[in-house]
Subunit: 352 residues, 2 copies
DNA sequence: TTGTAAGCGTTATCAC
DNA sequence: GTGATAACGCTTACAA
């Protein structure tokens, strides 16, 4: 799009050959400082900028990455995208961003389309099947986020630990029946979290977790989940992510169910929107931008000839629990005492 | 990145020449249906995908667009990006997305970097000066969003109308002193809105609008603005955008100032986060995704040889006022009666 | 340290 | 309707 200035033009003005111009511009120090300066000046004067198509044709590299996310309007993916974009740029890569709109077909299509014009691909929370993913992985340099697949580098957060902390928090507050509002059935993170729930249960005697279903991982999904949570008999609800938690908050309030007095709500991720509400959402923070930057680093490691086959990386999470939408259950008992089934009824009979 | 399969390989397998393969793949109907099918089959069998660098080198076009936004984590820009990305894709373009982090230097850098490898650029709410912008516009095919510049296509919303509706709404509710929490001083939209305020004042006798400053167009900016709004003597506050409005909401609540009873709050844009809070934010909706799709359409119009030099386009806004964070002022008077300065004191003296 | 020359994979031009 | 051939702008042996 820029000017039709070529290396030959610069070469002519600087009284050198085209190859010397090329060398001077490729950050090579194979050129005499004096000549180099002259070339750079000529290039600047002419407003030269390299034709990336021509360079890519001969080098076989594009200096571009592709990123595919399920939904840019989901603040989770917006943050990851910001992380990816920032790091890629500082490493000299531009980033194609594609939004699959949570659609598996579109996702596969986008990946195929982008794969042919980038040096590497980052797939964030891909919804496609392991088979499709594996097939693509065969001839594509890529890094996964929130998904694991043999032979493929991936960045994940410790979902088991997230769930353990969320449930441990509620347990410590005296909650013994907690409902879980799950994310998309095709979401790897959701299955990880359900596993995490199973593991956590062994450490938390007397705790019961009721799954109330799978929902779209957004605000509206939370709206749907809220009524089921209210009917589940649970005193607290853990949502697949913050957006759902906010939807649950909204619906519960609309129904006159007070949070946190009557129902505690805990989200996951600590997306930017979690602090936009009052009271602020209790949530377990995941390092969203860092997930993005780590993915870029892993991708570059894959491309460079030196390092290879990094082990899958799980980023640590932060304890980021806010006591605003979660409080001690009214039947709260010290952690050391055993469960007393009678407590619930008694306290609910007591006026004030 | 894909296989090293070239047109020659496909040509050999289909027993035709490379040129014919090229024609068959370029959606040309200059090739016999029978031959075409054979070629397509061969291409599929070999897993051929065109080398975009080689194509770009000869055609001079990349089929790529660039989009530069100030902040991907701002839901406003996330929505616009989603709109751009979706439309571009369906028109056969991939999109480089770049985030300037609200930094003018970075913005200029990004634009220069992307300009050389795309067919056109979309600059959303650019923060750079008119001079810098004009210089870039000279040798760049581009479309602006939320900014006007002579000779450059641009997509904007009707800021004057937005402000008129927001202030008209508050005025109808009886508010006579409204504070305005402005956006970045370098924001064209903000200056448009300040103009809009001046215009609106002539239609709303007795209305006073107090500017309380310029703030970062995000939640934290609203936090800063809230105290000034509270001290301004106004009974309502209009924020530059929804994120700031949410910040104002949060800070007012933290200070024990009840919304909307003691202070009405109105935002602008109706970003997705506006409905995440309870009560839902009163706001004037802008068609965010449509802004993005319209920008792509304008860009394509610029590129295609046929149409050219479209007049700047201003997208209509929607009346989307929610009566949750804005209510009648306690000194509300019918629109037909004139101002009565005594009302305020009387009502504030009345107990209950 | 610099120049010469070849060639990357594709499409456009021009024959046939 | 199809095939040769040249050319796009650049990088990289290889030579000097």
């Amino acid at each position: 799009m820029a000017g039709a200035v070529t290396v030959r033009d610069v070469a002519r003005l600087a009284s050198v050959s085209a190859s010397t111009v090329s060398r001077a511009l490729s950050a090579s120090n194979l050129v005499a400082p004096h000549t180099r300066d002259r070339i750079l000046a000529a290039a600047a004067q002419l407003g030269y900028s390299v034709n990336t198509s021509a360079r890519g044709l001969i080098t076989g590299r594009t200096s571009n990455f592709g990123l595919v996310v399920p939904d840019l309007e989901n603040p989770y993916f917006a943050s990851v995208t910001k992380g990816v974009q920032g790091r890629a740029l500082s490493e000299g890569y531009a980033v194609f961003v594609a939004d699959s709109d949570e659609d598996v077909r579109a996702e596969i299509e986008l990946v195929r389309k982008l794969a042919s014009q980038v040096d590497g691909l980052i797939l964030c929370s891909p919804r496609m099947s392991d088979e499709d993913l594996g097939q693509i992985a065969r001839d594509t340099t890529m890094v996964l986020i929130n998904r694991r697949l043999p032979q493929v580098d991936s960045i994940t957060v410790d979902d088991t630990e997230i769930v353990r902390q969320a449930l441990g928090h509620l347990y410590a507050l005296g909650h013994r029946t907690v409902s879980y509002a799950g994310g998309p059935a095709t979401s790897w993170s959701d299955s990880q979290r359900r596993n995490g729930i199973r593991l956590a249960l062994t450490d938390l005697p007397g705790l019961e977790v009721v799954s109330i279903g799978s929902f779209p991982p957004v605000f509206d999904g939370g709206l749907s989940a809220a009524d089921l949570a209210a009917a589940s008999g649970a005193t607290a609800v853990l949502a697949y992510n913050d957006l759902m938690a906010l939807g649950i908050l909204s619906r519960l309030q609309a129904r006159g169910i007070r949070v946190p007095e009557q129902m505690s709500v805990v989200g996951i991720d600590d997306v930017s929107a979690a602090t936009l509400v009052s009271p602020a959402l209790t949530t377990v923070r995941a390092p969203l931008r860092k997930v993005g930057t780590a993915a870029v680093d892993a991708l570059i490691d894959r491309i460079l000839p030196e390092r290879r086959d990094l082990p899958p990386e799980a980023l640590p999470i932060h304890l980021m629990i806010r006591d605003s939408t979660s409080v001690p259950h009214r039947s709260a008992v010290p952690l050391t005492s055993r469960e007393d089934a009678g407590l619930n009824e008694r306290s609910s009979n007591a006026k004030q």
